[in-house]
C-alpha cells in the first residue's frame, strides 16, 4: 500500500498540471509525510502545489509549519507571513508565527521611526475593503444620478440627494484607495532567509558591514540596485544586503 502511495505521489510530483482532485490528494500526502516527520517530503508536496498554482493561506500555513519543524526559521516566517497576507489569519497561524519569532536570533532594539500618516492609515485598513467601498459608492452615486434623470420631475429629488451622498462618500474612500495603491507599489516587506545576512553601508562587496541579521527577521525592502537591496529594520536601521538573502512576502 505504501509503495503504491509512493508511486502515486511520485507521479503526482512529476506532473506539470494537477486537477483539483490530484491537488487534494497531494495535499493529504504531504500532511501524512509531516505526521511521519518526513519534513522534506512534506515540504516538496506543498511547494509543488504552490508552483502549480494551487496556493492559498492553508498551503502557506502548512508549509511554514513544516519549515518550523525543520528549524528553518527564515522560510517558516516567510510562509506564515504569506499565509497571513493571503487571508489565512487564525489562532494557529498566530501561535506558530509567534513561536518562530521567539526562536529568532535577532532582537531589534529601539523604537521604530514614525511612519507617515498615509502608511499608518494603510496599515490600519484593508485594501480590498477600501477598493470595494470606493467602487460601490462610486457606482451607486452614478446609478442614482441616472435614476434621477429617469424619474418624473417632482418625485425624484431624493435620488439626487442619495447620489450626492454616495459620491461624497466615494471621495475619501477613493483617496484611501489611492494611498493603498501607492503603498502597494512602493513598499515591499520581506523576510531574511540567509543564515547570516550582512548589511553594508554601500551596495558594494568591499563596503563596511554595518550589521548582520539572521533568518526570520522581517525587513522592508526600500530600493534595489544590482544584486543589492536596501533593507530597513523595524527600528529604522538600514543597510545594503544581497538580494538572495531576503525573500519578499
Amino acid at each position: 500500500m505504501s509503495a503504491i502511495t509512493a508511486i502515486l505521489v511520485a507521479t503526482l510530483l512529476g506532473q506539470a498540471y494537477y486537477s483539483p482532485e490530484e491537488a487534494q490528494l497531494l495535499f493529504q500526502q504531504a500532511n501524512e509525510s509531516f505526521l511521519k516527520q518526513d519534513y522534506a517530503s512534506a515540504r516538496d508536496g506543498y511547494e509543488k502545489l504552490l508552483s502549480r498554482g494551487f496556493g492559498g493561506p492553508d498551503i502557506h500555513y502548512n508549509l511554514g509549519t513544516t519549515y518550523l519543524s525543520e528549524g528553518d526559521l527564515g522560510r517558516a516566517v516567510l510562509a506564515f507571513e504569506r499565509s497571513r497576507r493571503a487571508g489565512g489569519e487564525g489562532p494557529d497561524l498566530e501561535a506558530n508565527l509567534s513561536m518562530a519569532r521567539a526562536r529568532q536570533l535577532d532582537k531589534v532594539v529601539g523604537a521604530a521611526p514614525e511612519e507617515s500618516f498615509h502608511e499608518r492609515v494603510v496599515t490600519a485598513t484593508s485594501g480590498n475593503l477600501v477598493a470595494w467601498l470606493f467602487l460601490g459608492t462610486w457606482l451607486g452615486g452614478f446609478a442614482f444620478l441616472f435614476l434621477f434623470r429617469v424619474l418624473r420631475p417632482g418625485s425624484r429629488i431624493w435620488a439626487v440627494v442619495v447620489a450626492g451622498l454616495l459620491l461624497t462618500a466615494s471621495l475619501p474612500s477613493g483617496a484611501l484607495l489611492a494611498a493603498h495603491v501607492w503603498v502597494h507599489e512602493t513598499r515591499h516587506d520581506a523576510v531574511v532567509i540567509a543564515p547570516t545576512l550582512r548589511a553594508r553601508e554601500f551596495p558594494k562587496e568591499e563596503a563596511k558591514v554595518s550589521f548582520e541579521v539572521h533568518p526570520g527577521l522581517k525587513v522592508r525592502v526600500m530600493e534595489e540596485t544590482g544584486r543589492y537591496v536596501r533593507i530597513r529594520l523595524p527600528n529604522g536601521l538600514e543597510g545594503w544586503a544581497e538580494r538572495e538573502g531576503v525573500a519578499e512576502i
Binding site: 498554482g53 498551503i59 467602487l135 462610486w138
Partner: protein, 629 residues
C-alpha cells in the same frame, strides 16, 4: 643444687682491673661530615667522635663563621669486649652530632674540634666542604648508603614514635618527598610551611594544601592566620583545627613539633602554572608573661595544571572531573493525576561536589517540572573531597497516560584513568491515572510553594505550548491580486463616466433631430407637399373635387413652407402679392395663379377631362420645382 663459686669475689676483681687501667691510654678523637658537597639550602651532619674520653674531657666544637649550627646532640656508647683469658676491654664512644648549614658558597673549611682533658689537648682534622648555591642532590653513593647514625635512635618515645605526620599522605602521594620541607634561614626554630600533595594535576582535579607550623619552641597560641590567595582555584575547607595539636617530625635530622593550621582542597579551574601565595600567621611563643609574639610567612607554591585532554564532550564544565556515579530516584512510578512526584537526580563520587552540575531533568510536555532544590553532602575521606549532590524536582503530571522520564547522562573526566567516562541512568516510566486524589493526599513531601502551585493546577491540563497542528482542509486559490488590480475594476470604475458620455451624445443627436433649422423645415414641408401631390395623382380617376382639392392643398402647403407663413385664407391676388413680396418671379407667380384657378374651376365645374387633370398635375409639379436654385 651445689654452688660453683662466689659472684661477689668476681665483681671485686673486675673493679680492681678497671681502676688499674690508664685513663687516656687509647683516646681517639675525630670528626666526619656526611657529605663533602652541599648547597647553601642543604643541611648536613657533622659527627665528632671521642673514643674512651676521660671523665673530665671537654669538647669544644668548631664554631666557624661560614656555617650555621642548627642543632647539636650527644650520645654515648659503652661496650665491653671479653677476650680469652685476658681482662675484659671496656670501650666508651661519645658522639656529638651537629646539624649544620653553610652560610655562603665556596670551598669552606670546618675547623678542627678540640678535646681537653688532664692538661692535654687533642684536635681533629679540619673538614673541607664544597658549598654551592641552592640545593645540591647528594651523590648516589651517599644517597644510597645508610644514613648517619641517629643520635636519638635510642631515645624513648615520643622521638621513637611516629616521626612524619605525612606518612599516610605519602602513601597517597608517592611523588611527595621529605625534602619538600626546607628549614628557612634565620627562623629555623619556628616557621610556617605550606605543602601540596601534588605538583601536577589536571584542571578540576583535587590538590590538597596543608599549612603547618614547625616549631622547636613552646607555642602558646596562634593569633591570626592569613590564608594564601588562591587565584585560579575553587577551594573547599577540609580541616581547620580549633586547638593546636602537635606531632613530632624529623626534618633533615632535626626534631620539630608540627602543628596543622589549615587544610584545604583546591580544584584548579584553569590550566597553566597556578600560584599559591604565601600564608601568614601571628604566633605567640612561651608561657604566660614570658611569651612573645612573632609573625611568620610561609613559602609560596606553584602547581602545574594540565588542561583536560582532547576528545571530551563539548561544553563540559571543568568541574566535571573525578569519579562520579549518577542515579535517578522517583518517589513513585504510578501516580494519580494531580499528585506530585518527587524525582531526585543524585550525583555522588569524589571531586568538586559543590561545583558539579548534575544533568537537568528533561521531562516531556505532559509533565510540569518545577525548579529543583539542590542539597550537597560533603564527606572528606583521607583529605579527598567526596560526597553527593542531589537535585530534587517536583514533577506534576499534566495529562493521564504513560510518560517516560528520559535517561540522563553525566560525562566526566577521570584523572586516575586519564579517560572520559559517562555516568548514566535508565529511563523511568511514569503511569499517570485519572483519579480524585488531590494534592493534599500527596504521599511525598513538597515545599509549600510547590504545593500551592500544584493545588491551583487544573487536571489534565493541555498546555498551549508547542507547535499548532497542520490544516487538514485546504482551500486552493490562485495567488490573489488586490481588488484594484483585477481586470474588472478599472472598467467598472469608468463605466458611469462612459455611460454619461454616451447619453450626452445621444441627447445631442436627439436635440438636433427635434429642433431642425428653417431651411430643412421648409425642405421637409416642400417634401411633404410633393408627397401630397403624389397622393393627389392617385385620385386622377376619382371625383374632381377630391382630386383638385388635394392638388390645391399640396400647392398651398408648399407655398406655406416656402413663404414661412400661412397662405390658406388668402385670395389669389393677396397670394400673388405675398409671392411677389417674397421675391418670386412673375412667371412662377403666374403659374401658381393658374394652378389655383384651375383647381377652383375643376372643383366647381366637374366633368373635366382626364387630360386636363394630367395637365394640372404637371403644372403643380412645375410650380414646386426650381425654388432652391
Amino acid at each position: 643444687m651445689r654452688r660453683t663459686g662466689s659472684g661477689h669475689a668476681a665483681l671485686a676483681a673486675l673493679a680492681l682491673v678497671l681502676v688499674a687501667m690508664p685513663a687516656w691510654a687509647s683516646i681517639e678523637f675525630y670528626q666526619t661530615a656526611d657529605r663533602t658537597e652541599v648547597g647553601t639550602e642543604d643541611i648536613f651532619q657533622l659527627t665528632v667522635v671521642v673514643v674512651d674520653p676521660p671523665d673530665t674531657a671537654q669538647v669544644q666544637f668548631p664554631a666557624p663563621q661560614d656555617f650555621e649550627v642548627l642543632s647539636s646532640s650527644q650520645s654515648t656508647q659503652r661496650s665491653i669486649e671479653m677476650s680469652g683469658g685476658g681482662p675484659p676491654v671496656i670501650q666508651t664512644v661519645r658522639k656529638h652530632v651537629l646539624m649544620m648549614r653553610a652560610n655562603r658558597p665556596g670551598t669552606l673549611t670546618i675547623p678542627p674540634a678540640v678535646l681537653t682533658a688532664g692538661g692535654r689537648t687533642w684536635r681533629t682534622e679540619p673538614v673541607k666542604m664544597t658549598v654551592r648555591r641552592g640545593h645540591v642532590e647528594p651523590p648516589r653513593s651517599q644517597a644510597g648508603r645508610q644514613p648517619p647514625p641517629d643520635p636519638f635512635r635510642n631515645f624513648p618515645a615520643p622521638f621513637g614514635g611516629r616521626q612524619d605526620p605525612f606518612a599516610d599522605e605519602e602513601e597517597e602521594a608517592p611523588d611527595r618527598r621529605q625534602d619538600d620541607v626546607r628549614i628557612p634561614r634565620g627562623d629555623s626554630d619556628l616557621f610556617l610551611r605550606a605543602t601540596v600533595d601534588k605538583k601536577q594535576v589536571y584542571v578540576g582535579e583535587q590538590v590538597t594544601l596543608s599549612l603547618y607550623i614547625y616549631s622547636r619552641v613552646d607555642l602558646s597560641s596562634v593569633d591570626a592566620v592569613t590564608m594564601p590567595k588562591l587565584e585560579g582555584f575553587w577551594s573547599e575547607d577540609v580541616e581547620s583545627p580549633t586547638q593546636l595539636s602537635g606531632e613530632q617530625r624529623i626534618v633533615n635530622g632535626i626534631p620539630y613539633r608540627t602543628y596543622l593550621l589549615r587544610r584545604r582542597a583546591l580544584f584548579p579551574v584553569k590550566s597553566g602554572t597556578l600560584s599559591v601565595t604565601a600564608a601568614e600567621a601571628d604566633i605567640t611563643t612561651g608561657f604566660l608573661f614570658a611569651g612573645h609574639r612573632v609573625h611568620r610567612v610561609s613559602n609560596a607554591l606553584d602547581v602545574e595544571v594540565k588542561p583536560l585532554p582532547p576528545g571530551g564532550p563539548r561544553g563540559m564544565p571543568s568541574a566535571h572531573v573525578g569519579e562520579w556515579a549518577l542515579s535517578l530516584e522517583v518517589s513513585q512510578t504510578q501516580v494519580e493525576l494531580g499528585q506530585p512526584v518527587t524525582v531526585k537526580v543524585v550525583l555522588e563520587g569524589a571531586g568538586n561536589v559543590k561545583n558539579v552540575t548534575p544533568p537537568r531533568l528533561e521531562a516531556p510536555a505532559a509533565l510540569k517540572v518545577y525548579d529543583p532544590t539542590t542539597s550537597d553532602k560533603v564527606v572528606p575521606n583521607k583529605w579527598r573531597i567526596q560526597g553527593s549532590r542531589v537535585q530534587e524536582y517536583l514533577v506534576m503530571p499534566q495529562r493521564t497516560g504513560t510518560v517516560t522520564l528520559p535517561a540522563l547522562e553525566f560525562p566526566y573526566f577521570d584523572p586516575k584513568t586519564g579517560r572520559y567516562e559517562v555516568a548514566r541512568t535508565e529511563p523511568v516510566e511514569l503511569t499517570v491515572e485519572p483519579g480524585a486524589g488531590g494534592v493534599a493526599s500527596a504521599p511525598v513531601p513538597a515545599s509549600p510553594t510547590h504545593v500551592a502551585d500544584a493545588a491551583s493546577e487544573q487536571k489534565n491540563v493541555l498546555t498551549a505550548n508547542g507547535l499548532r497542528p497542520l490544516r487538514y482542509q485546504a482551500r486552493f486559490e490562485e495567488p490573489a491580486a488586490a481588488v484594484w488590480q483585477r481586470p474588472f475594476f478599472v472598467p467598472a470604475l469608468l463605466s458611469p463616466l462612459g455611460l454619461m458620455l454616451a447619453l450626452g451624445v445621444v441627447g445631442l443627436v436627439r436635440g438636433r433631430i427635434s429642433n431642425p433649422d428653417e431651411t430643412s423645415r421648409n425642405r421637409q414641408r416642400a417634401k411633404a407637399a410633393r408627397k401630397r401631390l403624389a397622393e393627389a395623382e392617385k385620385l386622377r380617376e376619382g371625383s374632381s373635387s377630391a382630386f383638385y382639392g388635394e392638388v390645391e392643398k399640396a400647392v398651398l402647403n408648399f407655398l406655406e413652407a416656402r413663404l414661412h407663413a400661412p397662405v390658406g385664407g388668402l385670395t389669389h391676388a393677396a397670394l400673388d402679392a405675398k409671392l411677389a413680396e417674397a421675391g418670386v418671379d412673375a412667371n412662377r407667380r403666374m403659374r401658381v395663379r393658374f394652378v389655383l384657378e384651375s383647381c377652383d374651376a375643376g372643383r366647381f365645374a366637374p366633368g373635366a377631362e382626364a387630360a386636363a387633370r394630367e395637365s394640372i398635375l404637371d403644372d403643380a409639379a412645375a410650380v414646386m420645382e426650381g425654388w432652391d436654385k
